[in-house]
């Protein structure tokens, strides 16, 4: 299948190029960049030095089977007609088609310029939307913080444990979440070693979380010193505190057949709970929990690589589902150990 990537000079765009070019069913034929047009993809992404491909301008897109768009919010809604014309399947990584209604965009973003296409957009997480994804032709890949949160809380939502519960989500993310641009705050001297509240309140991912889980959460995100990775710690105070057995059952029911969600909790050794470096480079979401009986609290941990399960990997996974390909195709990498701060 002929596959293109818009925004290929960016971080998620580069990750898509990596995944698509190693995918057994995909051929990477187009990778766009305005800034680096005509340069080799490897000149920007050193891991793709072996790729025999140069960036082209996004105005020069040709017919494709699949088009991944990894541009800032707003770009896809502006070009959606054109993109859907060019490609049978458009997978967008921005927030442009994640929410179900124009009203939600008005509330959380700056309005929507292509509202007619909103109903076609399917939220990409196969763990929640596997059936709607089959045959979809406009897919909206989720936000990375939202993905970590949704996957962590989904079992509790399904088991009714979130009904009436107070839920706080405290997220820690790496610097790649900011994309390849980056101003003073993301320069190495300022960004190294931080535990920096960057979205104390009002994070727009709350909209997706609420939509997907049906629960309102208090959400705060912190930048920490890693490049890849997002970790969500969800503090849940249920109306009725469940037992550990109930929790295991809820998590296992939800995920035992999921190829990309692993339960990690209570194990011995160094890696007892989900943590982002254990999933770096992979499409896994590791989720786990602990019961705090004293305080009537369930603590859920969820860890993903924001470049993978949090964006490019999720997008390819959803495309696989939509196209009826083996779900795990192109997403087999299991990660590294030891690994520092990937």
């Amino acid at each position: 299948m002929k596959v293109g990537v818009v925004g290929a000079s960016g971080f998620t765009g580069g990750e898509l190029c990596r995944l698509v070019s190693a995918h057994p069913e995909f051929d990477l034929v187009t990778a766009t960049s305005r800034e680096y047009a005509n340069k080799t993809v490897g000149s920007v992404h050193p891991n793709l030095r072996g790729l025999d491909l140069r960036f082209s301008h996004p105005d020069d897109l040709d017919d494709l089977d699949v088009l991944f768009v990894a541009a800032p919010h707003g770009v896809t809604m502006e070009h959606v007609e054109e993109y859907r014309d060019i490609a049978d399947l458009v997978v967008d990584l921005s927030a442009d088609f994640r929410l179900d209604s124009e009203e939600q965009y008005d509330e959380w973003y700056d309005g929507h310029s292509a509202p007619d296409h909103i109903p076609d957009g399917v939220y990409a997480l196969p763990e929640l939307h596997r059936e709607e994804l089959a045959g979809a032709n406009l897919i909206a890949s989720g936000g990375c913080n939202a993905t970590a949160t949704i996957l962590g809380l989904k079992p509790l939502a399904d088991a009714g444990i979130l009904d009436g519960a107070d839920v706080t989500v405290d997220v820690k993310v790496g610097s790649s979440e900011g994309g390849a641009g980056g101003g003073a705050a993301s320069s190495h001297p300022e960004r190294s070693g931080v535990v920096r509240p960057y979205a104390p309140t009002g994070h727009r991912h709350e909209a997706e979380i609420e939509q997907e889980l049906g629960v309102q959460v208090g959400f705060t995100a912190h930048a920490v010193d890693m490049t890849r990775g997002a970790a969500a710690t969800c503090h849940v105070y249920p109306e009725e505190v469940p037992g550990t057995g109930d929790l295991w059952q809820a998590f296992r029911e939800c995920y035992e057949d999921e190829p990309f969600v692993r339960l990690v909790a209570g194990s011995g050794g160094v890696y007892r709970y989900p943590e982002p470096k254990a999933v770096a480079g992979t499409n896994y979401a590791d989720v786990g929990f602990e019961l705090d009986e004293r305080n009537g609290r369930v603590v859920v941990f969820s860890a993903i690589d924001n470049m993978m399960k949090g964006s490019a990997g999720q997008a390819v996974h959803a495309a696989n589902v939509a196209l009826g390909i083996d779900e795990q195709a192109g997403l087999e990498f299991d990660g590294l150990h030891p690994v520092g701060a990937p």
Binding site: G245, W248, L263, A265, G266, S267, G268, R272
Partner: protein, 54 residues
């Protein structure tokens, strides 16, 4: 096949199991102590906490 006392998943056990041996559950990772062998019975192994200054 024996159930993990932590998560309820089945734990695959090797043959010449001995009482006192520690195995880990491959679902939840819980360390389990073999408290009996015929039939195998597993219990939570005593935990060794990381030492964190406070």
């Amino acid at each position: 096949m024996t159930e993990c006392v932590e998560c309820g998943a089945e734990v695959s056990l090797h043959e010449d199991l001995e009482v006192g041996e520690i195995v880990d559950c491959d679902t939840c990772g819980q360390e389990l102590e073999v408290v009996d062998t015929e039939p195998p019975v597993l219990d939570r192994a005593p935990e060794l906490d990381e030492d964190w200054g406070e």
